[in-house]
Point group: C2
Chain length 259, copies 2
């Protein structure tokens, strides 16, 4: 019988209680916006956003970076805090009850958690949790999805076809997308979703995908260049020199303000 | 000797630990943006934003509303969550040490807190705290500033002349202002700072004050009306009928989404 290491126990008390960081990791390729979603290794088809607790001696931004880094393999990810979810009735009890019901070996005599004692150990996990939401914008070409020891698998899902996730995680993605959209008009950080260099056409396709509407090419280019955040490089080599588009890049990686 | 009721003690454990709500209450009048700031009743000139903890059975938005209501007397205030401050070293220990040093009667034999026991009771209050920031936009004509039992006084301060507050509260105001400014281009919620009805000139003055720059009248009016959020009423009676400006109002009170 394998030793099952389920959720953190009461003895792992180096966390701030009743606080989680929930992360929406966005990726983009070929007119498709995706979200990186792990599936838990337990019976019952549980999908959940990459989430974890905050260590007592850890900044919340660093906690988010740690969680996202562990799933993308990228050391410094572009991230933004986008909301706090703090309903009084928000807790993981229903989810944990269901998980334990479907995975009785977790509380059986041969498993690592003994019945009464084990369940009490998890009581803290079923209390009300306030969730701080962060989204990350990653270059899918650089990200190497990694599962944690709690996961069976981890995959990119088209944002239009996400699996049903635990608790309010689907609603958290919806809010992250809404907040991401709000930034598009005023800043270029969304371009962290693209490879290091890109053409204006690729920028336009990205905007059209995220906002789900077309733009007129001339106006779009004028608007983007007015935001003053792009560095123009040499023309992209296509064989037909006079029609080759310029390549652009963001001047340097930009990261969110540490709060 | 009066009974001094200082900070909440360990026995008041109905709160989520290590989490506070810090509120920036904005008011506006005559081209001046103000913030409502209480001064604590203890010796030592301690100013602090209206702040409190979240009850276990309370939504965070409702906690913010409760804190702001208790200081403005207005039942439903327009409010927005604007940031979470979560540095690992953020705590109130320096502030509380200083307060206790300057107010020795708090730990003296005749006071409510006995020395060793009393101080231990406050230990939880000196731990690291994650702060959720909310700002409120209130009509100064309707708000009646109210001090809490911990306050000596409460006053509106010009945002350009705030007193030095405890911990990082001045920085929290700076961030609130930055986030408020970001909304001005896309929504009209800032008009909750005005009385129920107002002229376009008053709207322009408000915008100019908050953004600290002048606007050209025609373009400004066009921009505001394009946001489609205003109801136009009758003309304001000024005696000179043909030059009287229109009055406007927000269609109904708008409140932030409950998260």
């Amino acid at each position: 019988m394998t030793t099952i290491q389920p959720l953190p126990t009461l003895s792992e008390q180096n966390y701030i209680q009743q606080l989680t960081i929930d992360c929406v990791i966005f990726g983009y390729r070929d007119r498709q916006l995706s979200v990186l979603v792990p599936k838990l290794r337990y019976k019952g088809d549980f999908w959940a956003l990459p989430s974890w607790f905050v260590f007592q001696d850890e900044d919340i931004d660093e906690a988010a970076q740690r969680i996202i880094r562990s799933r993308t393999g990228i050391e410094e990810n572009y991230l933004e805090q986008f909301q706090v979810t703090g309903k009084a009735n928000r807790n993981g009890k229903a989810f944990l009850d269901q998980l334990i019901e479907l995975n009785s070996e977790l509380i059986g005599p041969n498993a690592t958690i003994s019945e009464g004692e084990g369940l009490r150990e998890y009581e803290w996990f079923t209390r009300r949790f306030v969730s701080i939401g962060y989204y990350a914008l990653v270059d899918m070409d650089r990200a190497i999805p990694r599962k944690s020891e709690l996961d069976q698998s981890i995959e990119w899902y088209d944002i239009k076809q996400l699996p049903p996730m635990i608790m309010d995680h689907n609603a958290i993605v919806t809010k992250a997308l809404k907040m991401l959209r709000l930034t598009l008009d005023q800043e270029l950080n969304v371009l962290n979703l693209l490879p290091e260099t890109f053409t204006m056409k690729e920028v336009q396709e990205l905007y059209e995908t995220i906002l789900n509407k077309p733009f007129e090419r001339g106006n779009f280019q004028k608007k983007i260049l007015s935001l003053n955040g792009l560095e123009r490089l040499e023309k992209k080599y296509t064989g037909a020199a006079n029609k080759a588009p310029y390549l652009y890049r963001l001047p340097k990686p930009t990261f969110c303000e540490v709060s």
